[in-house]
């Protein structure tokens, strides 16, 4: 009995010592020098292994960064801080790309853009797109099987009741997987700061668009008109017959959204845009606000000669506020009243 206990201790202990010592020795003897910067870069990367950089994972990207083949901006997911940090590790200045999010450039739910035929094949947009240009009446419209939702590695997309994918901005990292997955290039990356985008890809003109979709862009050029968008943010592309946004220009063209006859422009902040109101006590009744207001019937004259803004119609464009000679117009945000600065 004693012998077997001693034997057990000796053999397992001996084995442990042998293997422990052996491994310790081997880890020295067979040590492979890895550039310490690889570890640092790897730590700074998001670690999601989404493959958006084109590498197999974050570790592989870190290796390529240290080898100098890639820069930090190859990772669309990393925050600008992380990119700056990686640039610092590498001792290089990295151009800071703006954070992007994906948007769905189609609003053609089945009630707005009907199907041409009943498709019963694979439930995949890529497959459906190959069968007679897809079942959608519009050749550029969303097929609604959610290849993009499947492709999203961050659970940032859901398929809506209306068969259109919705992007959850807070979760979207702008990795661009959905853009690749969509066979019709409907998903697009726009800067996170951009609130308004054109939700249509149809390059046809008025009648051809109207016949397939009630919310398709007809290329009417109204939004790009300098009277509608004085900042010049929107320009028409003559080939695609679609408005193009210059995201460098800081302006939310809410008036263009309002004027668009087909509601093809989408305003992500439409629900929480502040509205304006006129403090009745300060209003002198000159009516400058009514002259500049782009919304018909939003500002009206009261019987006592003063003016009132119908807040439910106000789109928050803010044109009236500087126009008022008596500074009677204030912003009213969703949180409550707030004096205009």
């Amino acid at each position: 009995m004693d012998v077997s206990i001693l034997g057990a201790i000796a053999s397992v202990g001996g084995l442990g010592l042998l293997f422990g010592g052996g491994l310790a020795y081997a880890s020295r003897k067979f040590y492979v020098k890895v550039d310490p910067r690889v570890e640092q870069v790897d730590d700074a990367l998001p670690g999601a292994n989404c493959g958006a950089c084109g590498m197999a994972g974050c570790r592989q990207m870190a290796l390529k960064v240290v080898e100098g083949e890639l820069t930090a901006s190859a990772c669309p997911v990393a925050s600008s801080d992380a990119r700056a940090f990686i640039a610092q590790i590498m001792g290089a200045e990295v151009e800071l790309a703006e954070e992007m999010v994906a948007v769905t450039r189609c609003q053609g739910s089945p009630d707005k853009s009907p199907d041409r035929f009943i498709y019963q094949g694979f439930k995949s947009c890529t497959a459906a797109d190959m069968v007679g240009h897809g079942h959608k009446a519009c050749d550029w419209g969303c097929l609604g099987f959610g290849d993009c939702v499947e492709a999203c590695p961050f659970d940032a997309m859901v398929m809506g009741e209306d068969r259109l994918p919705k992007v959850i901005d807070d979760l979207c990292t702008g990795c661009g997987k959905c853009v690749e997955a969509c066979p019709r290039d409907i998903m697009e990356l726009v800067p996170r700061s951009a609130n308004i985008y054109i939700a249509c890809k149809n390059p046809n003109r008025a009648k051809d668009v109207k016949s397939v979709c009630s919310v398709g862009c007809t290329g009417c050029t109204l939004c790009a008109n300098p009277k509608t968008t004085p900042s010049g943010k929107i320009e028409m592309n003559k080939e695609t017959n679609l408005p193009v946004f210059d995201y460098q220009v800081e302006d939310d063209p809410v008036i263009a959204v309002h004027k668009c006859p087909t509601n093809s422009l989408v305003d992500k902040r439409a629900k929480d845009r502040p509205v304006f109101y006129i403090a009745e006590s300060r209003c002198t009744g000159e009516g400058e606000c009514k002259k500049v207001c782009p919304v018909k019937g939003c500002i009206e004259e009261l019987e006592n000669g003063k003016f009132v803004i119908h807040t439910e119609k106000c789109i928050g464009c803010g044109l009236c506020e500087p126009a008022c000679p008596s500074k009677a117009i204030d912003i009213m945000s969703a949180l409550g009243h707030q004096a205009a600065s």
């Binding site: 012998v3 077997s4 034997g7 057990a8 053999s11 397992v12 084995l15 442990g16 293997f19 422990g20 052996g22 491994l23 081997a26 880890s27 067979f30 040590y31 492979v32 694979f122 439930k123 995949s124």
Partner: protein
């Protein structure tokens, strides 16, 4: 050395007593690494490699340290078999990983990610234990280990092929992903049950 005896071991380990589908060992990588054919092949190769080395090491440990008839002190230490084998396999895999990282970077690229996954794989421990239970000699142990690894690879590759096709199939939502994989595993196990009627030797 009786060649037909080795052939029986090979056919037995690959088909009749397939480690995954008949003995239900190594189910974790079977489900976990069977989503892509390429990684399934990589994993299978790594398992064959590790199983062979582990059989060799565990054979030596068992007969020269633990078994009372053949070890140096004549004491029965066979109750230490499990713990000693796990120790051997884990250190061995660690060691091998370091060596091939240094000496064969290409092989490390191919197998490297899978090696740490295998250290605690019960199929590897299983083959070491079965070699002892079946009282195989060294050559038979090694042949059995390689055959068991091939059997594991076969099951893994078949499964990966099926699962790549399942990706395109219209599967009811509650069954998508791993649940349907488990159902497939069950069907494959039933199919492999057919081999138990095979008479060899």
């Amino acid at each position: 050395m009786d060649l037909s005896n080795l052939l029986v071991i090979v056919v037995g380990s690959i088909l009749i007593n397939n480690f995954v589908l008949m003995r239900f060992l190594g189910i974790c990588p079977y489900i976990g690494v069977s989503k892509k054919l390429s990684s399934a092949v990589g994993m299978g190769m790594a398992v064959i490699f590790v199983m062979t080395l582990a059989s060799l090491a565990s054979y030596l440990i068992y007969y020269y340290l633990l078994a009372p008839e053949t070890n140096f002190w004549g004491v029965d230490l066979t109750f230490l078999r499990t713990i000693a084998f796990i120790l051997v396999i884990a250190s061995l895999v660690q060691f091998v990983e370091m060596v091939i990282q240094k000496l064969a970077p290409a092989l490390y690229q191919a197998l490297g990610i899978f090696l740490p996954l295998i250290t605690t794989n019960c199929a590897v421990l299983g083959v070491a234990v079965l070699n002892i239970d079946e009282q195989y000699n060294l050559i038979e142990s090694l042949v059995n280990a390689i055959a068991a690894g091939i059997g594991f690879t076969l099951a893994l590759v078949l499964m990966a092929g099926i699962r790549e096709r399942l990706e395109l199939a219209d599967i009811p939502k509650p069954l998508q992903g791993v649940p349907i994989a488990f159902l497939m595993a069950g069907l494959m196990a039933i199919a492999f049950l057919g081999f138990s009627g095979l008479s060899v030797g």
